[in-house]
Amino acid sequence: MAGRLKVFIGMAAGVGKTYRMLQEGHAEQEAGRDVAIGYMEPHKRPETSALAEGLEAIPRRRLTYRGTDLEEMDLPALLARAPELALIDELAHTNAPGAEHEKRYEDVRDVLAAGIDVFSTVNVQHLESLNDQVTELTGTRVRETIPDAVLGEADEVVLIDLTPEALIERLRAGKVYPGENIEAALGNFFTVENLLALREVALRQVAQEVEAKRLVVEAPLGTRTERVAAEVPKAVGERLLALVRPQPSSQRLVRRAWRSSQRLGAPLDLLWVKPPGQPIEGEVERQVTALRHLASVLGATFLIEESDNLVDGVARVARERGTTYIMVGESEPPRGLARLREPLPQRLMRATPAGVDVRIVARREGREER
Protein backbone atom coordinates (compact mmCIF):
# COMPACT_ATOMS: atom_id res chain seq x y z
CA MET A 1 0.00 0.00 0.00
CA ALA A 2 1.36 3.42 -1.01
CA GLY A 3 2.35 5.92 1.64
CA ARG A 4 0.45 9.13 2.29
CA LEU A 5 1.80 12.52 1.25
CA LYS A 6 1.33 15.65 3.29
CA VAL A 7 2.62 18.92 1.83
CA PHE A 8 3.26 22.11 3.78
CA ILE A 9 2.87 25.01 1.38
CA GLY A 10 3.75 28.65 1.94
CA MET A 11 3.86 31.96 0.11
CA ALA A 12 7.64 32.38 0.43
CA ALA A 13 10.77 31.20 2.17
CA GLY A 14 10.77 31.89 5.89
CA VAL A 15 7.08 31.40 6.71
CA GLY A 16 7.90 28.32 8.79
CA LYS A 17 7.13 25.33 6.56
CA THR A 18 10.18 23.29 7.56
CA TYR A 19 9.67 24.24 11.20
CA ARG A 20 6.06 23.06 11.14
CA MET A 21 7.05 19.85 9.32
CA LEU A 22 9.58 19.09 12.05
CA GLN A 23 7.06 19.88 14.78
CA GLU A 24 4.60 17.45 13.27
CA GLY A 25 7.41 14.91 12.83
CA HIS A 26 8.11 15.11 16.55
CA ALA A 27 4.42 14.73 17.33
CA GLU A 28 4.23 11.60 15.17
CA GLN A 29 7.35 10.19 16.81
CA GLU A 30 5.94 10.85 20.27
CA ALA A 31 2.79 9.06 19.17
CA GLY A 32 4.94 5.99 18.61
CA ARG A 33 5.67 6.15 14.89
CA ASP A 34 9.06 5.50 13.31
CA VAL A 35 10.13 8.86 11.86
CA ALA A 36 13.29 9.80 9.98
CA ILE A 37 14.49 12.91 8.20
CA GLY A 38 15.18 12.04 4.57
CA TYR A 39 16.42 15.52 3.80
CA MET A 40 16.20 18.81 5.59
CA GLU A 41 17.48 22.21 4.52
CA PRO A 42 18.02 24.30 7.66
CA HIS A 43 19.11 27.40 5.64
CA LYS A 44 21.41 28.29 8.55
CA ARG A 45 18.37 28.88 10.77
CA PRO A 46 19.36 27.93 14.31
CA GLU A 47 15.76 27.44 15.51
CA THR A 48 15.08 25.00 12.69
CA SER A 49 18.31 23.10 13.27
CA ALA A 50 17.52 22.85 16.98
CA LEU A 51 14.09 21.44 16.26
CA ALA A 52 15.61 18.70 14.09
CA GLU A 53 17.43 17.33 17.14
CA GLY A 54 15.83 14.20 18.46
CA LEU A 55 14.79 13.03 15.01
CA GLU A 56 16.92 10.52 13.18
CA ALA A 57 18.45 11.99 10.00
CA ILE A 58 19.46 9.74 7.12
CA PRO A 59 22.98 10.90 6.20
CA ARG A 60 23.15 12.85 2.97
CA ARG A 61 24.88 11.49 -0.07
CA ARG A 62 27.77 13.33 -1.70
CA LEU A 63 27.74 13.64 -5.45
CA THR A 64 30.51 15.25 -7.43
CA TYR A 65 29.53 17.30 -10.45
CA ARG A 66 32.16 19.16 -12.50
CA GLY A 67 34.59 19.04 -9.61
CA THR A 68 32.10 20.33 -7.05
CA ASP A 69 30.83 18.22 -4.16
CA LEU A 70 27.07 18.44 -3.80
CA GLU A 71 24.92 16.98 -1.04
CA GLU A 72 21.65 15.31 -1.92
CA MET A 73 19.09 13.11 -0.24
CA ASP A 74 20.26 9.49 -0.19
CA LEU A 75 17.23 7.80 -1.73
CA PRO A 76 18.58 4.23 -1.65
CA ALA A 77 19.56 4.63 2.01
CA LEU A 78 16.13 6.02 2.88
CA LEU A 79 14.36 3.18 1.08
CA ALA A 80 16.63 0.65 2.83
CA ARG A 81 15.96 2.23 6.22
CA ALA A 82 12.21 2.26 5.46
CA PRO A 83 10.82 4.37 8.31
CA GLU A 84 7.05 4.73 8.67
CA LEU A 85 7.30 8.45 8.01
CA ALA A 86 10.01 10.37 6.14
CA LEU A 87 10.45 14.14 6.36
CA ILE A 88 11.70 15.42 3.00
CA ASP A 89 12.17 19.16 2.62
CA GLU A 90 11.92 21.18 -0.61
CA LEU A 91 9.75 19.14 -2.92
CA ALA A 92 10.64 21.28 -5.95
CA HIS A 93 14.40 20.81 -5.59
CA THR A 94 16.39 19.76 -8.67
CA ASN A 95 18.84 16.97 -7.88
CA ALA A 96 22.47 17.03 -8.90
CA PRO A 97 23.33 14.93 -11.95
CA GLY A 98 24.08 11.37 -10.88
CA ALA A 99 21.09 11.04 -8.58
CA GLU A 100 18.33 8.55 -9.37
CA HIS A 101 15.94 11.22 -10.54
CA GLU A 102 16.21 14.74 -11.88
CA LYS A 103 13.70 16.15 -9.38
CA ARG A 104 13.08 15.53 -5.71
CA TYR A 105 9.35 15.05 -6.16
CA GLU A 106 10.25 12.00 -8.26
CA ASP A 107 12.28 10.68 -5.32
CA VAL A 108 9.25 11.28 -3.12
CA ARG A 109 7.08 9.25 -5.48
CA ASP A 110 9.50 6.31 -5.05
CA VAL A 111 9.35 6.71 -1.28
CA LEU A 112 5.54 6.77 -1.31
CA ALA A 113 5.48 3.75 -3.62
CA ALA A 114 7.55 1.90 -1.01
CA GLY A 115 4.72 2.44 1.48
CA ILE A 116 6.47 5.17 3.43
CA ASP A 117 4.45 8.24 4.43
CA VAL A 118 6.08 11.56 3.49
CA PHE A 119 5.87 15.09 4.86
CA SER A 120 7.30 17.66 2.46
CA THR A 121 7.41 21.41 1.81
CA VAL A 122 7.00 23.72 -1.17
CA ASN A 123 6.52 27.39 -1.94
CA VAL A 124 3.60 28.47 -4.06
CA GLN A 125 5.77 29.99 -6.80
CA HIS A 126 7.22 26.55 -7.49
CA LEU A 127 3.93 25.30 -8.87
CA GLU A 128 4.25 25.20 -12.65
CA SER A 129 0.88 26.78 -13.43
CA LEU A 130 1.50 29.66 -11.03
CA ASN A 131 5.10 30.29 -12.01
CA ASP A 132 4.27 32.84 -14.72
CA GLN A 133 1.65 34.54 -12.56
CA VAL A 134 4.03 34.84 -9.62
CA THR A 135 6.80 36.09 -11.90
CA GLU A 136 4.44 38.71 -13.24
CA LEU A 137 3.43 39.73 -9.73
CA THR A 138 6.87 39.82 -8.18
CA GLY A 139 9.28 40.23 -11.07
CA THR A 140 11.23 37.20 -9.85
CA ARG A 141 11.12 33.83 -11.57
CA VAL A 142 12.08 30.65 -9.78
CA ARG A 143 13.71 27.98 -11.91
CA GLU A 144 12.73 24.96 -9.83
CA THR A 145 9.12 23.99 -10.46
CA ILE A 146 6.87 21.01 -9.90
CA PRO A 147 3.86 19.95 -11.96
CA ASP A 148 0.61 20.92 -10.26
CA ALA A 149 -0.38 17.27 -10.36
CA VAL A 150 2.20 16.57 -7.65
CA LEU A 151 0.28 18.78 -5.26
CA GLY A 152 -2.92 17.18 -6.49
CA GLU A 153 -1.53 13.78 -5.48
CA ALA A 154 -1.05 14.92 -1.88
CA ASP A 155 -3.45 13.46 0.64
CA GLU A 156 -3.21 16.60 2.72
CA VAL A 157 -2.07 20.14 1.93
CA VAL A 158 -1.34 22.43 4.86
CA LEU A 159 -1.01 26.14 4.24
CA ILE A 160 1.54 27.80 6.47
CA ASP A 161 0.22 31.32 6.58
CA LEU A 162 1.90 34.40 7.92
CA THR A 163 1.10 38.05 7.38
CA PRO A 164 3.59 39.91 5.16
CA GLU A 165 4.43 42.21 8.07
CA ALA A 166 5.22 39.27 10.35
CA LEU A 167 7.41 37.66 7.69
CA ILE A 168 9.32 40.88 7.11
CA GLU A 169 9.76 41.15 10.87
CA ARG A 170 11.20 37.62 10.92
CA LEU A 171 13.48 38.56 8.06
CA ARG A 172 14.72 41.69 9.85
CA ALA A 173 15.36 39.65 12.98
CA GLY A 174 17.68 37.39 10.98
CA LYS A 175 15.42 34.36 11.31
CA VAL A 176 15.18 33.75 7.56
CA TYR A 177 18.53 34.68 6.00
CA PRO A 178 21.96 35.44 7.42
CA GLY A 179 22.62 39.10 8.22
CA GLU A 180 24.51 40.00 5.05
CA ASN A 181 21.56 38.95 2.83
CA ILE A 182 18.76 40.68 4.74
CA GLU A 183 18.91 44.10 3.13
CA ALA A 184 19.10 42.67 -0.38
CA ALA A 185 16.09 40.44 0.32
CA LEU A 186 14.08 43.33 1.75
CA GLY A 187 14.88 45.47 -1.26
CA ASN A 188 14.02 42.86 -3.85
CA PHE A 189 11.59 40.04 -3.23
CA PHE A 190 10.39 40.57 0.32
CA THR A 191 8.26 43.66 -0.14
CA VAL A 192 4.82 43.94 1.44
CA GLU A 193 3.31 44.28 -2.03
CA ASN A 194 4.96 41.08 -3.31
CA LEU A 195 4.13 39.14 -0.19
CA LEU A 196 0.49 40.25 -0.20
CA ALA A 197 0.14 39.05 -3.78
CA LEU A 198 1.87 35.75 -3.02
CA ARG A 199 -0.20 35.20 0.07
CA GLU A 200 -3.37 35.66 -1.94
CA VAL A 201 -2.13 33.20 -4.57
CA ALA A 202 -1.25 30.65 -1.88
CA LEU A 203 -4.60 30.97 -0.11
CA ARG A 204 -6.48 30.61 -3.37
CA GLN A 205 -4.39 27.64 -4.47
CA VAL A 206 -5.06 25.71 -1.29
CA ALA A 207 -8.77 26.59 -1.45
CA GLN A 208 -8.89 25.21 -4.98
CA GLU A 209 -7.11 22.03 -3.91
CA VAL A 210 -9.62 21.50 -1.15
CA GLU A 211 -12.52 22.16 -3.51
CA ALA A 212 -11.18 19.79 -6.16
CA LYS A 213 -10.79 17.01 -3.61
CA ARG A 214 -14.30 17.61 -2.27
CA LEU A 215 -15.74 17.20 -5.76
CA VAL A 216 -14.01 13.92 -6.36
CA VAL A 217 -15.32 12.59 -3.07
CA GLU A 218 -18.87 13.86 -3.54
CA ALA A 219 -19.48 12.80 -7.13
CA PRO A 220 -19.29 9.02 -7.35
CA LEU A 221 -21.11 8.51 -10.68
CA GLY A 222 -20.00 8.99 -14.30
CA THR A 223 -16.54 9.51 -15.73
CA ARG A 224 -14.21 11.94 -14.06
CA THR A 225 -14.75 14.47 -16.87
CA GLU A 226 -18.52 14.18 -16.49
CA ARG A 227 -18.29 14.55 -12.74
CA VAL A 228 -16.13 17.62 -12.97
CA ALA A 229 -18.29 19.13 -15.75
CA ALA A 230 -21.41 18.57 -13.67
CA GLU A 231 -19.85 20.30 -10.73
CA VAL A 232 -18.18 23.16 -12.55
CA PRO A 233 -20.22 25.90 -10.84
CA LYS A 234 -19.26 24.59 -7.42
CA ALA A 235 -15.66 23.88 -8.32
CA VAL A 236 -14.77 27.32 -9.55
CA GLY A 237 -16.73 29.44 -7.08
CA GLU A 238 -17.48 32.75 -8.73
CA ARG A 239 -17.27 33.13 -12.51
CA LEU A 240 -17.99 36.37 -14.34
CA LEU A 241 -19.50 36.84 -17.76
CA ALA A 242 -19.36 40.27 -19.40
CA LEU A 243 -21.64 40.89 -22.38
CA VAL A 244 -19.77 42.84 -25.01
CA ARG A 245 -20.41 44.12 -28.50
CA PRO A 246 -17.80 44.95 -31.11
CA GLN A 247 -17.80 48.60 -30.12
CA PRO A 248 -15.23 50.77 -28.32
CA SER A 249 -17.60 51.32 -25.38
CA SER A 250 -17.30 47.63 -24.53
CA GLN A 251 -13.70 48.20 -23.48
CA ARG A 252 -14.88 50.09 -20.43
CA LEU A 253 -17.29 47.34 -19.49
CA VAL A 254 -14.46 44.82 -19.83
CA ARG A 255 -12.25 46.90 -17.55
CA ARG A 256 -14.98 47.06 -14.91
CA ALA A 257 -15.63 43.35 -15.21
CA TRP A 258 -11.94 42.56 -14.97
CA ARG A 259 -11.54 44.61 -11.81
CA SER A 260 -14.46 42.77 -10.25
CA SER A 261 -13.01 39.44 -11.31
CA GLN A 262 -9.69 40.38 -9.74
CA ARG A 263 -11.36 41.28 -6.47
CA LEU A 264 -13.31 38.03 -6.44
CA GLY A 265 -10.40 35.94 -7.69
CA ALA A 266 -12.78 34.67 -10.36
CA PRO A 267 -12.25 33.78 -14.02
CA LEU A 268 -13.71 36.20 -16.55
CA ASP A 269 -15.47 35.37 -19.81
CA LEU A 270 -16.32 37.99 -22.43
CA LEU A 271 -19.30 37.12 -24.60
CA TRP A 272 -20.57 38.61 -27.81
CA VAL A 273 -23.89 37.18 -28.97
CA LYS A 274 -23.61 37.55 -32.71
CA PRO A 275 -26.73 37.71 -34.87
CA PRO A 276 -26.70 34.73 -37.26
CA GLY A 277 -25.34 35.60 -40.65
CA GLN A 278 -23.71 38.85 -39.56
CA PRO A 279 -20.32 38.92 -41.26
CA ILE A 280 -17.27 39.68 -39.15
CA GLU A 281 -15.57 42.16 -41.42
CA GLY A 282 -14.53 45.78 -41.62
CA GLU A 283 -14.98 47.76 -38.42
CA VAL A 284 -16.71 44.85 -36.68
CA GLU A 285 -13.69 42.66 -37.37
CA ARG A 286 -11.36 45.34 -36.04
CA GLN A 287 -13.34 45.65 -32.82
CA VAL A 288 -13.60 41.87 -32.41
CA THR A 289 -9.82 41.65 -32.82
CA ALA A 290 -9.39 44.40 -30.23
CA LEU A 291 -11.63 42.56 -27.74
CA ARG A 292 -9.83 39.28 -28.35
CA HIS A 293 -6.53 41.05 -27.81
CA LEU A 294 -7.73 42.71 -24.60
CA ALA A 295 -8.98 39.36 -23.33
CA SER A 296 -5.55 37.89 -23.94
CA VAL A 297 -3.84 40.74 -22.07
CA LEU A 298 -6.18 40.27 -19.11
CA GLY A 299 -6.14 36.47 -19.09
CA ALA A 300 -9.87 36.40 -19.87
CA THR A 301 -11.69 34.19 -22.39
CA PHE A 302 -13.42 35.77 -25.37
CA LEU A 303 -16.45 33.88 -26.66
CA ILE A 304 -18.67 34.44 -29.68
CA GLU A 305 -22.08 32.78 -29.51
CA GLU A 306 -24.27 32.89 -32.59
CA SER A 307 -27.93 33.39 -31.74
CA ASP A 308 -30.81 35.51 -32.93
CA ASN A 309 -31.99 35.83 -29.35
CA LEU A 310 -29.57 37.63 -27.06
CA VAL A 311 -31.12 36.35 -23.82
CA ASP A 312 -31.20 32.72 -24.97
CA GLY A 313 -27.59 32.94 -26.14
CA VAL A 314 -26.41 34.41 -22.85
CA ALA A 315 -28.39 31.89 -20.78
CA ARG A 316 -26.92 29.00 -22.75
CA VAL A 317 -23.35 30.20 -22.29
CA ALA A 318 -23.95 31.03 -18.61
CA ARG A 319 -25.13 27.46 -17.98
CA GLU A 320 -22.24 25.91 -19.90
CA ARG A 321 -19.59 28.06 -18.21
CA GLY A 322 -20.99 27.94 -14.68
CA THR A 323 -21.39 31.71 -14.59
CA THR A 324 -22.40 33.24 -11.27
CA TYR A 325 -22.25 36.91 -12.24
CA ILE A 326 -23.29 38.62 -15.47
CA MET A 327 -22.24 42.18 -16.26
CA VAL A 328 -24.05 44.15 -18.93
CA GLY A 329 -23.61 47.68 -20.19
CA GLU A 330 -26.39 50.19 -19.75
CA SER A 331 -28.69 50.11 -22.76
CA GLU A 332 -29.61 53.10 -24.86
CA PRO A 333 -32.92 54.59 -23.69
CA PRO A 334 -35.64 52.59 -25.45
CA ARG A 335 -37.53 54.28 -28.23
CA GLY A 336 -40.90 53.61 -29.79
CA LEU A 337 -42.39 50.20 -29.14
CA ALA A 338 -39.17 49.05 -27.44
CA ARG A 339 -40.42 50.98 -24.38
CA LEU A 340 -43.02 48.27 -23.88
CA ARG A 341 -40.39 45.55 -23.75
CA GLU A 342 -39.08 44.12 -20.48
CA PRO A 343 -35.54 45.45 -19.80
CA LEU A 344 -32.61 43.16 -20.62
CA PRO A 345 -31.42 42.58 -17.02
CA GLN A 346 -34.84 41.30 -15.99
CA ARG A 347 -35.02 39.01 -19.00
CA LEU A 348 -31.54 37.72 -18.20
CA MET A 349 -32.48 37.09 -14.58
CA ARG A 350 -35.43 34.99 -15.65
CA ALA A 351 -33.54 33.02 -18.29
CA THR A 352 -30.37 32.18 -16.37
CA PRO A 353 -30.05 29.60 -13.59
CA ALA A 354 -31.08 30.64 -10.08
CA GLY A 355 -28.33 32.38 -8.16
CA VAL A 356 -26.82 34.19 -11.13
CA ASP A 357 -26.50 37.90 -10.35
CA VAL A 358 -26.82 40.54 -13.04
CA ARG A 359 -25.01 43.85 -12.73
CA ILE A 360 -25.45 46.87 -14.97
CA VAL A 361 -22.41 49.01 -15.72
CA ALA A 362 -23.45 52.62 -16.22
CA ARG A 363 -22.57 54.47 -19.38
CA ARG A 364 -20.14 57.31 -19.10
CA GLU A 365 -21.55 60.79 -19.45
CA GLY A 366 -20.79 62.38 -22.82
CA ARG A 367 -20.10 60.82 -26.16
CA GLU A 368 -18.09 57.62 -26.29
CA GLU A 369 -18.47 56.54 -29.86
CA ARG A 370 -19.83 57.66 -33.11
Binding site: E136, P248, L337, R367
Partner: protein, 188 residues
Protein backbone atom coordinates in the same frame (compact mmCIF):
# COMPACT_ATOMS: atom_id res chain seq x y z
CA UNK B 1 -68.73 60.18 -44.94
CA UNK B 2 -70.07 57.49 -42.62
CA UNK B 3 -68.70 56.48 -39.23
CA UNK B 4 -67.30 53.27 -40.81
CA UNK B 5 -65.35 55.31 -43.35
CA UNK B 6 -63.99 57.49 -40.58
CA UNK B 7 -62.88 54.46 -38.52
CA UNK B 8 -61.18 52.90 -41.56
CA UNK B 9 -59.33 56.16 -42.23
CA UNK B 10 -58.22 56.42 -38.61
CA UNK B 11 -57.05 52.78 -38.65
CA UNK B 12 -55.10 53.35 -41.87
CA UNK B 13 -53.39 56.43 -40.47
CA UNK B 14 -52.58 54.65 -37.21
CA UNK B 15 -51.17 51.70 -39.13
CA UNK B 16 -48.99 53.93 -41.27
CA UNK B 17 -47.65 55.81 -38.24
CA UNK B 18 -47.03 52.56 -36.36
CA UNK B 19 -45.23 51.02 -39.34
CA UNK B 20 -43.08 54.13 -39.72
CA UNK B 21 -42.15 54.08 -36.01
CA UNK B 22 -41.23 50.37 -36.08
CA UNK B 23 -39.12 50.80 -39.22
CA UNK B 24 -37.35 53.83 -37.75
CA UNK B 25 -36.67 52.03 -34.47
CA UNK B 26 -35.17 49.01 -36.30
CA UNK B 27 -33.07 51.20 -38.55
CA UNK B 28 -31.68 53.06 -35.54
CA UNK B 29 -30.96 49.78 -33.79
CA UNK B 30 -29.00 48.53 -36.77
CA UNK B 31 -27.11 51.79 -37.08
CA UNK B 32 -26.14 51.75 -33.43
CA UNK B 33 -24.88 48.15 -33.74
CA UNK B 34 -22.69 48.88 -36.71
CA UNK B 35 -19.55 50.87 -35.90
CA UNK B 36 -18.65 53.24 -38.71
CA UNK B 37 -15.33 53.96 -40.36
CA UNK B 38 -13.55 56.64 -38.38
CA UNK B 39 -10.39 58.67 -38.32
CA UNK B 40 -8.06 57.84 -35.50
CA UNK B 41 -5.42 59.62 -33.47
CA UNK B 42 -3.04 57.42 -31.55
CA UNK B 43 -1.77 58.53 -28.16
CA UNK B 44 0.75 55.97 -26.95
CA UNK B 45 1.98 56.22 -23.39
CA UNK B 46 3.88 54.26 -20.79
CA UNK B 47 3.83 54.19 -17.01
CA UNK B 48 1.24 55.58 -14.66
CA UNK B 49 1.03 59.16 -15.79
CA UNK B 50 0.82 61.10 -19.01
CA UNK B 51 1.65 64.69 -19.77
CA UNK B 52 -1.53 66.71 -19.49
CA UNK B 53 -0.26 68.97 -22.25
CA UNK B 54 0.06 66.03 -24.62
CA UNK B 55 -3.32 64.64 -23.70
CA UNK B 56 -5.05 67.99 -24.10
CA UNK B 57 -3.36 68.52 -27.46
CA UNK B 58 -4.50 65.11 -28.65
CA UNK B 59 -8.03 65.81 -27.41
CA UNK B 60 -8.14 69.20 -29.14
CA UNK B 61 -7.06 67.63 -32.40
CA UNK B 62 -9.52 64.77 -32.06
CA UNK B 63 -12.35 67.15 -31.35
CA UNK B 64 -11.48 69.51 -34.18
CA UNK B 65 -11.21 66.67 -36.68
CA UNK B 66 -14.07 64.62 -35.24
CA UNK B 67 -11.60 61.79 -34.89
CA UNK B 68 -11.50 59.01 -32.37
CA UNK B 69 -8.68 59.14 -29.86
CA UNK B 70 -6.93 55.85 -29.24
CA UNK B 71 -4.96 56.03 -25.99
CA UNK B 72 -2.66 53.03 -25.96
CA UNK B 73 -0.83 51.78 -22.88
CA UNK B 74 2.42 50.13 -23.94
CA UNK B 75 3.67 47.28 -21.75
CA UNK B 76 7.15 45.79 -21.96
CA UNK B 77 6.98 42.03 -21.38
CA UNK B 78 10.21 40.55 -19.93
CA UNK B 79 11.96 38.06 -22.23
CA UNK B 80 11.51 35.27 -19.70
CA UNK B 81 7.73 35.45 -20.28
CA UNK B 82 5.89 34.56 -23.48
CA UNK B 83 5.09 37.69 -25.44
CA UNK B 84 1.39 36.92 -25.54
CA UNK B 85 1.00 35.97 -21.89
CA UNK B 86 -1.56 37.66 -19.66
CA UNK B 87 -0.07 40.64 -17.86
CA UNK B 88 -2.35 41.34 -14.91
CA UNK B 89 0.11 43.56 -13.06
CA UNK B 90 0.60 45.77 -16.13
CA UNK B 91 -3.12 45.72 -16.84
CA UNK B 92 -3.76 46.89 -13.29
CA UNK B 93 -1.56 49.92 -13.99
CA UNK B 94 -3.11 50.56 -17.39
CA UNK B 95 -6.77 50.34 -16.38
CA UNK B 96 -7.01 53.40 -14.13
CA UNK B 97 -4.94 55.43 -16.59
CA UNK B 98 -7.22 54.57 -19.48
CA UNK B 99 -10.19 55.31 -17.26
CA UNK B 100 -8.78 58.75 -16.39
CA UNK B 101 -8.07 59.53 -20.04
CA UNK B 102 -11.55 58.42 -21.10
CA UNK B 103 -13.13 60.59 -18.42
CA UNK B 104 -11.27 63.62 -19.68
CA UNK B 105 -12.15 62.77 -23.26
CA UNK B 106 -15.82 62.31 -22.40
CA UNK B 107 -15.93 65.72 -20.77
CA UNK B 108 -14.69 67.20 -24.06
CA UNK B 109 -17.07 65.15 -26.16
CA UNK B 110 -14.30 63.15 -27.82
CA UNK B 111 -14.84 59.49 -28.64
CA UNK B 112 -12.20 57.02 -27.46
CA UNK B 113 -11.15 53.49 -28.30
CA UNK B 114 -8.49 52.33 -25.83
CA UNK B 115 -5.81 49.68 -26.23
CA UNK B 116 -3.18 47.87 -24.20
CA UNK B 117 -0.31 46.59 -26.31
CA UNK B 118 2.49 44.21 -25.38
CA UNK B 119 6.00 44.12 -26.72
CA UNK B 120 9.55 43.27 -25.69
CA UNK B 121 10.15 47.00 -25.38
CA UNK B 122 7.98 50.10 -25.64
CA UNK B 123 9.14 50.54 -29.20
CA UNK B 124 8.30 46.93 -30.03
CA UNK B 125 4.84 47.33 -28.51
CA UNK B 126 4.32 50.47 -30.58
CA UNK B 127 5.51 48.67 -33.69
CA UNK B 128 3.00 45.87 -33.08
CA UNK B 129 0.20 48.37 -32.56
CA UNK B 130 1.07 50.30 -35.72
CA UNK B 131 1.04 47.09 -37.73
CA UNK B 132 -2.36 46.09 -36.36
CA UNK B 133 -4.25 49.38 -36.51
CA UNK B 134 -4.31 52.29 -38.89
CA UNK B 135 -3.99 55.88 -37.75
CA UNK B 136 -4.12 59.27 -39.33
CA UNK B 137 -1.97 60.85 -36.69
CA UNK B 138 0.25 59.85 -33.77
CA UNK B 139 0.69 62.23 -30.85
CA UNK B 140 3.73 61.40 -28.77
CA UNK B 141 4.71 63.13 -25.57
CA UNK B 142 8.49 63.39 -25.44
CA UNK B 143 9.98 63.32 -21.97
CA UNK B 144 12.89 65.13 -20.43
CA UNK B 145 13.31 62.40 -17.83
CA UNK B 146 15.91 59.78 -18.68
CA UNK B 147 14.56 56.25 -18.71
CA UNK B 148 10.92 57.32 -18.74
CA UNK B 149 8.66 56.97 -21.76
CA UNK B 150 10.08 57.22 -25.25
CA UNK B 151 13.75 57.83 -25.87
CA UNK B 152 15.12 60.09 -28.57
CA UNK B 153 15.92 56.99 -30.64
CA UNK B 154 12.33 55.80 -30.27
CA UNK B 155 11.04 59.11 -31.58
CA UNK B 156 13.41 59.08 -34.56
CA UNK B 157 12.30 55.55 -35.29
CA UNK B 158 8.67 56.60 -35.07
CA UNK B 159 9.20 59.50 -37.48
CA UNK B 160 10.78 57.13 -39.98
CA UNK B 161 8.44 54.18 -39.63
CA UNK B 162 4.99 55.38 -38.61
CA UNK B 163 2.60 55.35 -41.58
CA UNK B 164 0.92 58.47 -40.23
CA UNK B 165 1.56 62.07 -39.37
CA UNK B 166 3.62 62.21 -36.17
CA UNK B 167 3.25 65.00 -33.70
CA UNK B 168 5.94 65.05 -31.04
CA UNK B 169 5.24 67.34 -28.13
CA UNK B 170 8.37 68.74 -26.60
CA UNK B 171 8.23 68.86 -22.82
CA UNK B 172 7.79 72.35 -21.49
CA UNK B 173 9.94 72.88 -18.39
CA UNK B 174 7.38 75.38 -17.12
CA UNK B 175 4.45 73.05 -17.54
CA UNK B 176 4.90 69.84 -15.61
CA UNK B 177 1.31 68.79 -15.15
CA UNK B 178 0.31 65.18 -15.54
CA UNK B 179 -2.83 63.13 -15.77
CA UNK B 180 -2.59 60.16 -13.46
CA UNK B 181 -4.86 57.32 -12.43
CA UNK B 182 -6.08 59.49 -9.56
CA UNK B 183 -6.75 62.58 -11.64
CA UNK B 184 -4.24 65.32 -12.33
CA UNK B 185 -1.05 66.26 -10.56
CA UNK B 186 1.53 68.98 -10.96
CA UNK B 187 5.14 67.93 -10.58
CA UNK B 188 7.40 70.11 -8.47
Amino acid sequence: MTVEHLLIAVALVAGLIGGYLIARSRLRGRRSERPQAIHQILLPFTGTEISRRALDAALRLARAEEATLMPAYLAAVPKRLPLDCAIPAEAAKAMPMLEAIEQRAASQDVSVDSRIERGRSYRHALERLLSRESFDRVVVPATAEAGAGFSGDDLVWLLEKAPAEVLILRPDPEDRRFVTANGSRAAV
